[in-house]
Structures are given as C-alpha cells and as structure tokens.
C-alpha cells in the first residue's frame, strides 16, 4: 500500500471513528449517568439520517445556508424530542432491572422503525452533499479526498472538544461526573437530579441524531442503519468502559481503524475483526479500558 | 503450649491507584483465639479482610493458610480450604429458609462439582453440616423460618451459621455486631466464645466494649498500617494507640476485664 492510499484510509478511519464517537458517547453517558441501557439509541441515529433526507428539499432551496440550517433544526428537534421522551418514557426505567430496560427499549426500536416506515417508507435514499462541500482536496498528487468527509471529521472533533469542555470545565459537567459515580450524593448536594437526567438524555439523543444527519450523505439512508450502528456502539462502550467519554473516544478511534483497514486488507473477514478486537479486550480488561464508578 | 497458627499475613499490601489502602500489614491468627482488628474509619480494616479472604488481590506480601501460601488462590479455593468469611452487610438468601441457606453454603464443601442430577435435598453430608452449623449459631428453633422474616440479630447469626456450614478452620467476621442491641450483642459474644476451641477468629469491630470483652489479642490499624498488636491490657496502655485515637476511644476504653 503506498503512502497516499494509506493516508486516505487513515482519514477514513478517523472520520468513521469520530462519527462513531458521537453516537457512542451518548450511549455511554446515558448508561453511565442514568443507569439505563438504551437499545433504541441506534434508532436516534436512523431518525437523524431520515431527518436529513426529509429536510433535504429545504436545504436545497436555500443553497449555502440550507445545510447548516437543516442541521440546526435537527439538533433543536432532537433536544425537544429527547426531553419529552425522557419525561414520558425513560424516567420509568430508572429503578428497573436490566432485562426490563432492555426489552422496553427494544419495544421502542420496533415502534420507531414502524413509525418511520409509515411516515417515510422503507426505501433507500441518497442525500446530496451540499454544493459548497462537494469538492475534493488533492492528496499527494495522485489521490484526492472528499471535502465533505474532512468537514465531517472536523465537525465531530469540534463536538468532541465541546463535550470535553462541558464535562470537564462546567458546573453541569461536574454534576454529570459526580452523578456517574454517586447519584444519591449529587441529589443531597441540591442538584435537581431529574433535570440533570433529562438534560443528559436529551444531549445523548441530540448527539446521535446529529451524527445521523451528518452521515447521511456518505452512508445513504436505509432502514437497517440504526441497528448496525447500535451494535458497533455497544462494542465501543464495552471496549472503552461504561460512563467514560475518554474511553469512548479511544475505543471509537480504535474501532474505526480496525474496521477501515480490515475492509481494505482482509475484506472477507473484515466484519468479524471488530468483534475479535472486543474479545481480545475482554480477555485483558473485562470492564473496559477506562471504567468509572 | 504454642498455639497452631492457622492464618498469617506477611507484609500484606494493597494499592488502589495512588492510594495505599493496606501498608505492609502482618498479623497471625492462632487456633482457639479471637483476634480483634480495630482502627479508625478508613484505616483499611475491611480492605485487609478482603485481601485475606481473596476477594481482592494483594499488591504485595503473602497470605498463608495453615502454612500453605495461598496468596495467588481465588476466594472460592481459599473457602474450600477452610477460610470462611461473613459480611458487614447481611448477604443471606432472603427467600429461602434458614436451613436451606446453610445447606446451600455447605454444598460447596461436600458436593461433587456440577452434580446435575442428585436431588439437592438428599445430600446427607450437607444436611448434617447445615444442622450442626445452625445448632452452633443457636438458630435451631428458627431452622424452618424464611430467612427474610428473621430479626436483625438473628440474621447476623445466620450469616455466621452460613460461614460455619462450610466447616472452616478460620473465620473472618466483618462487624458481626453491627446494628445490634445489648441483648443480641451478649448472645453473639457467647456464640463467638463457644466457637473459640476449634477455630481461629478474626473480628473486625467498632464496638469497643464487646472487643475488650471477647478478644484474646487485638491489632490496631491506622491509615493502612498496623501500629500495635497484643493483649487487650497492653493495647489499652499503648501510647501510640491512645494518641492515634486522640481520645476517640481513650476515655471510653472499658476499665473492667470482660469475659475470659
């Protein structure tokens, strides 16, 4: 493999890893802080992609400002959606056993899939890359790399940094970190735990929906995409450790590289490699690379 | 007559990241004695017990059970070799009867592993061991009662009975008197006294009255280190111990000698 190809694959790996990080960080936060294992998390990603498809006409109509506007609308909608969903559904899951949480959120997946099927059908759709991001950047003379993918990586990185800043530097972040390790204590300190949970859940939903919207032009929009990303996110969370953002980032990048290079070097078994990675980590550190609490 | 040393820790240490929870703790447990482990909160007593029982791995040092080096052994293996332990928070099986609790605990000692066929109620060895343990713990009258319906004191007694059902030679008891009133405490101390002849008992406790009544030897821990070991009278007079507690127990240390 010559250097240009290698570079392209590295960029792909980083882009995939960072996108995965957006989804997995929401999952790990929701589990780490709310203590809820949420199978429907992949559905939010799928909703994001279909939202991008549904808003595409709007984006095309206002060229230039359309795409960011669509993204912004998506984020706002998902925060509202997440807030309401937590209030109406997720809050009833807190004290329940894992099995019950798993099955109730599994039921939610079925509901979301069918609602989407009713509203938008089951077809596979493409979403156009916005014009101002549609070009390619030359790499080392022979190869070029799509601008949009660089844009994706950039945006995901920004979000990751923002997430880090919020969690490490703000009071909300402090409450979140404390809540991950000791729920009762945080409550005793006067933090409104209900509100905190609602915010964290809404943020998790927004991250997944945003990731889906961002990924839509690259991965296209199809019914099974939520389930696929969910399982890979689970692998990321297992490798990285529940509740750990750092772990999610490291694990996402690891998975990104293994998957991308696996597909290039050993395409026949590429799909299994991620699980082999997980199995290896399990042997070494059964509770993930960075566990909290 | 030199007593038989059943459990020994040699320079045992346990580190959690930057925190040295147990710092080169050495102590011995001989048959026929009750050895109390006391110390201020956070002194590392529970951690030491966890390392001794095998629940947590040691970061350094050795543990010897009847002369055999068990430092690398898992907790179940040590338990089968005769190291029993009870827990501070009651861990009995609430839905089963007292008898069933003890019989299940005894099963580990007597059944062939993975015995898929033999009816559990027909293991006479386990049944006998359970009945003996229940008798030793003075719970014979409650043997058929559902464990969840017992009083707090009786539950703590059941905790000990489950320990005894496995036929241990060493007993690590983590605050067996926790939450007990004076009558229940007396009953428990009589129980412990009766256990002395065949066993070596390590008792982690905060109730100083009880400790000075029952203990043959006392070890004091502060910040993970053992600062004194000896007979109760010696500990009472030990200047280091008194300064470590800074009057926490100094004024409360009972003057009268207790039982035994």
């Amino acid at each position: 493999m010559d250097f240009a190809v290698f570079l392209v694959q590295c960029l792909n790996a980083v882009q995939y890893g960072l996108l995965l990080f957006l989804v997995a960080s929401g999952l790990t936060l929701i589990f780490g802080i709310l203590g809820v294992i949420n199978l429907a998390h992949g559905s939010f990603y799928m909703i994001g992609a279909y939202l991008a498809y549904a808003l595409a006409p709007l984006a095309a109509a206002h060229s230039g400002g359309g795409f960011p506007a669509a993204l912004a609308i998506g984020v706002v909608l998902s925060i509202v959606f997440g807030y309401v969903l937590e209030w109406v559904f997720v809050s009833y899951l807190y004290e329940r056993e894992h099995l019950q949480q798993v099955l109730m959120t599994y039921g939610l997946i079925l509901v979301f899939e069918e609602l989407r099927s009713i509203a938008l059908g089951d077809d596979v759709h493409g979403v156009a890359v916005p014009e101002w991001l549609a070009g390619s950047v030359p790499l080392g003379g022979v190869m070029t790399y799509p601008v949009y993918r660089l844009f994706m990586s950039g945006v995901c990185l920004l979000v990751a940094l923002a997430l880090y800043a919020v969690i490490a530097r703000t009071r909300v972040g402090m409450a979140i970190r404390a809540g991950a390790t000791n729920r009762e204590m945080v409550q005793a300190l006067g933090v409104d735990i209900r509100l905190l949970y609602r915010i964290v859940f809404a943020a998790g939903v927004a991250l997944a929906v945003f990731a889906g919207m961002l990924a839509a032009p690259v991965t296209s929009v199809y019914p099974g995409m939520g389930n696929q990303v969910l399982i890979v996110s689970f692998v990321v969370v297992v490798i990285g450790g529940i509740g750990s953002i750092r772990g999610a980032l490291l694990a996402s990048l690891l998975v990104g590289f293994v998957d991308t290079f696996g597909n290039v070097l050993v395409p026949q078994i590429a799909g299994v490699l991620v699980y082999v990675l997980m199995a290896a980590i399990l042997l070494w550190r059964p509770e993930g690379l960075f566990r909290t609490g | 007559m030199p007593a038989e040393i059943l459990l020994e820790s040699i320079d045992l240490s346990r580190r959690f990241g930057g925190l040295l929870a147990v710092d080169r703790a050495s102590l011995t447990l001989a048959r026929g004695e009750v050895h109390a482990l006391i110390g201020t909160n956070g002194a590392g007593k529970s951690t030491l017990v966890n390392v001794l029982s095998g629940e947590i791995a040691a970061s350094g040092g050795k543990v010897r059970l009847s002369g055999c080096d068990v430092t690398r052994w898992t907790q179940p293996r040590r338990a089968r070799a005769g190291l029993g332990r009870s827990y501070q928070r009651t861990t009995i099986f609430a839905h089963a009867s007292v008898f069933e609790n003890c019989r299940l605990a005894a099963q580990a000692h007597f059944q062939r592993a993975y015995d898929l066929w033999s009816d559990a109620t027909r293991c006479s060895d386990a049944t006998r061991a359970a009945e003996q343990a229940i008798a030793q713990a003075n719970l014979s009258a409650q043997a058929r009662r559902v464990a969840g319906t017992l009083s707090h004191g009786q539950k703590r007694q059941l905790e000990i009975a489950m320990c005894l059902a496995t036929g241990p030679s060493v007993l690590l008891l983590d605050e067996p008197l926790a939450g007990m009133g004076p009558e229940e405490t007396d009953r428990m101390l009589l129980l412990l006294e009766a256990l002395k002849p065949g066993h070596a008992v390590l008792l982690v406790e905060h109730d100083m009255d009880a400790v000075f009544r029952i203990a043959d030897r006392i070890t004091v821990m502060v910040s993970g280190r053992v600062i004194a070991t000896g007979e109760p009278a010696a500990i009472r007079g030990n200047a280091d111990v008194q300064s470590a507690y800074l009057g926490e127990i100094g004024d409360d240390m009972p003057q009268a000698a207790g039982i035994g």
Binding site: I37, G271 | Q107, Y114, T166
Partner: protein
C-alpha cells in the same frame, strides 16, 4: 367409607400441581387430529420456540445471566444440521441431532468463556455482539450460502436394521418427535432445577459474592449453565432446520434473541411453564398483529402494535402471566378491605 376415600383421592389429585401440564401435553398430542394444517404448523413452530425459550430460561431465570445473543446457538445448530446432512439418503442419520447439539454446545462453551468475563450490563452487550458476529459469519460469507440460506439435503431418519423407527420426513412423525423432545427438555430442566447444580445456580443468581465466599467457583458454574443452555437451544435449532428443510441467516438475527427474551418475560421469568406459555403468547400476538383479516393493509406494520405490546407487557406485568393471579389478588385485597 368408600366415598370418603374417593373424596380424599379427588382432593389429592386436584392438589397435584402437575395436572395443568398433563392437560397441555394431552391437548398438544391430540391437536394434529383436530386442527387444520395451518394451525398444526403454527403449533409445531411454537413448540420448537418453546424448547428455545426453555433453554434460555436456565440461563436468565435460574442463573440470572441475561443473554441477548442466544439466537446464535439456535442458528449454529440449525446450520450445522443443514451442512452436515448427507447428500444422498443414508441408512440412518440419527447422529445428526447429537451433531447439531454438540456444535451448538461447543460454540456456547467458547463464546461463553469470553462473555462470562464480563459482568452485569457488559455481559448483555457482549452476548449481543458475539451473536451479531455469528450472524455476520453466516450472512456475509460464502460459508453456508450467505444471505440466500441453505437447504437441507435429506431430512434425517432413525433406522435400525433397515426398519425405519422414526422418519422425520413424515410431518406427523415430526410433530410427535418435537412434542417428545419438548417434554424431555422440560423434564430435564425440572430435574436440574431440583439438583445441587440447580440450587448452586440459584444461589449465584441471588448473590454471587456470597457463593464465592462459601467456596463455589462461580465462573465454572456459569460457564456450565451457558454451555448447557446453548446445547438445549441446539435441539430447537435442529428441529427448525428439519421442519422446513431450509435455514437462513435471519434466525441468527438479534431480533430472534430479543424475541426469545420477550417470551420469557411474557410468561414469567423463573418458571419453566412461563417459558412455554410465553412462547405461545408471543406467537399468538405476532399472528394477531400480522393478520390482515383484523388489520387490513395496516397489518404490514405489525411491528408497531408488537412494540407497544412489548412495552405495555413489561411495564405492567414484569413478572409475567404466571404471576398474574398473585398480582390480581394483591390488587383486589385492598379493595376488599376497604369495602
């Protein structure tokens, strides 16, 4: 005098808790003679799923290990059966069932060895991940027909000295063979439940730490339970392969793993009859929601009412149908006292 003895006999018989089961077995045995082909096939499918659910009950109900990847062993056995079935009619390939089961058991032992390193919610996630891995192996590779699936060459028969004892090509024979296997699996699990091994598993579910402190090497017990559960799922997988003579990767999909967990919670976790009941209720619900007679064109969106039903059942009846009488009694008691 005679009447009194008769009365005592009646009392003892009706007190025997086994009679609902006996009635169920009789009903199932008689059913092919009274039911239409479609319904007999449905009952057959449900019996196979019951075996599948029973196998998971050992793991989830008794040992407390929530596995979201149990479909892997169902599927591996089904595929093994299809792959190992000889191309021509062989004198007897009764060995096909043990072969399928053994494959599933081996897979369960290996996968279990990894998964059991994880605890709690990690365990749920890794079982899901490993099951997805096996789905990938059968769906995306050419190992066994890929996404098209695989046909069974010849359905097995058990012969002795040239006389066919059990010919599974005959649908009636197959039905009764399935029923016999269902009863056997149920009986085996009931026996295990009363055994020392079964009690040890129950103890592990209640408080694993306590069991370790008593001297049980719990990892070994859990792995044994996991392997046994995989092997029993293999029986169901074998039957599935033989029933239609065809296997497809969809039986390994995580929806299968979710469905079987659902069956358990519907019926009632912790009881064997709950597992079987749950399987029947689940299949009934699915048939109901897919019925065009009831829902017309909306029937193709059957997953919506199913999803809502799942949420409702788990929320309102977390202990399942078998616990319903107790739940209702508790409901009524305060009303009775108040009035």
């Amino acid at each position: 005098m005679k009447f009194r003895r008769f009365a005592i006999l009646v009392q003892q018989t009706s007190a025997w808790r086994g009679w609902p089961l006996a009635v169920a077995v009789v009903v199932l045995a008689v059913f092919p003679h009274v039911g239409g082909d479609f319904y007999v096939d449905l009952v057959l499918t449900t019996m196979i799923l019951s075996i599948f659910a029973l196998s998971l009950e050992l793991l989830v109900g008794r040992t407390g290990l929530v596995s979201f990847g149990h479909a892997a062993f169902f599927g591996i056995a089904a595929y093994a059966t299809a792959l190992l079935s000889p191309s021509g009619a062989a004198p007897s390939h009764a060995w096909l069932l043990p072969a399928g089961v053994a494959t599933a058991a081996l897979a369960a032992a290996v996968i279990g060895a990894f998964c059991l390193r994880a605890r709690g919610v990690y365990f749920i996630m890794v079982t899901l991940a490993f099951a997805q891995m096996t789905y990938f192996v059968f769906h995306d590779t050419k190992l066994a027909g890929g996404s098209d699936g695989l046909y069974l060459n010849v359905k097995p028969a058990l012969t002795l000295d040239g006389i066919t004892i059990v010919d599974l090509r005959n649908p009636r024979t197959f039905y009764y063979a399935t029923l016999v296997l269902l009863v056997l699996v149920y009986a085996v699990l009931a026996a295990i439940g009363r055994s020392r091994f079964g009690y040890a598993l129950a103890g592990i579910r209640a408080n694993e730490q306590r069991m370790r402190a008593a001297g049980f090497s719990t990892y070994g017990y859990k792995l044994a339970a996991f392997t046994l559960a995989g092997a029993l799922a293999g029986i169901a997988g074998f039957l599935h392969a033989v029933k239609d003579g065809f296997v497809s990767p969809e039986i390994l999909a995580w929806h299968q793993s979710g469905a079987v967990l659902l069956m358990l919670i519907l019926g009632g976790i912790g009881t064997l009859r709950g597992a079987v009941l749950g399987a029947f209720v689940f299949v009934l619900m699915k048939e109901l929601f897919q019925s065009e007679a009831l829902f017309g064109a909306f029937a193709k969106h059957w997953q919506l009412p199913l999803g809502l039903a799942v949420i409702a059942c788990v929320a309102l009846m977390p202990n399942g149908i078998v616990a319903l009488p107790t739940q209702l009694r508790r409901f009524r008691a305060p009303l009775l006292n108040a009035g």
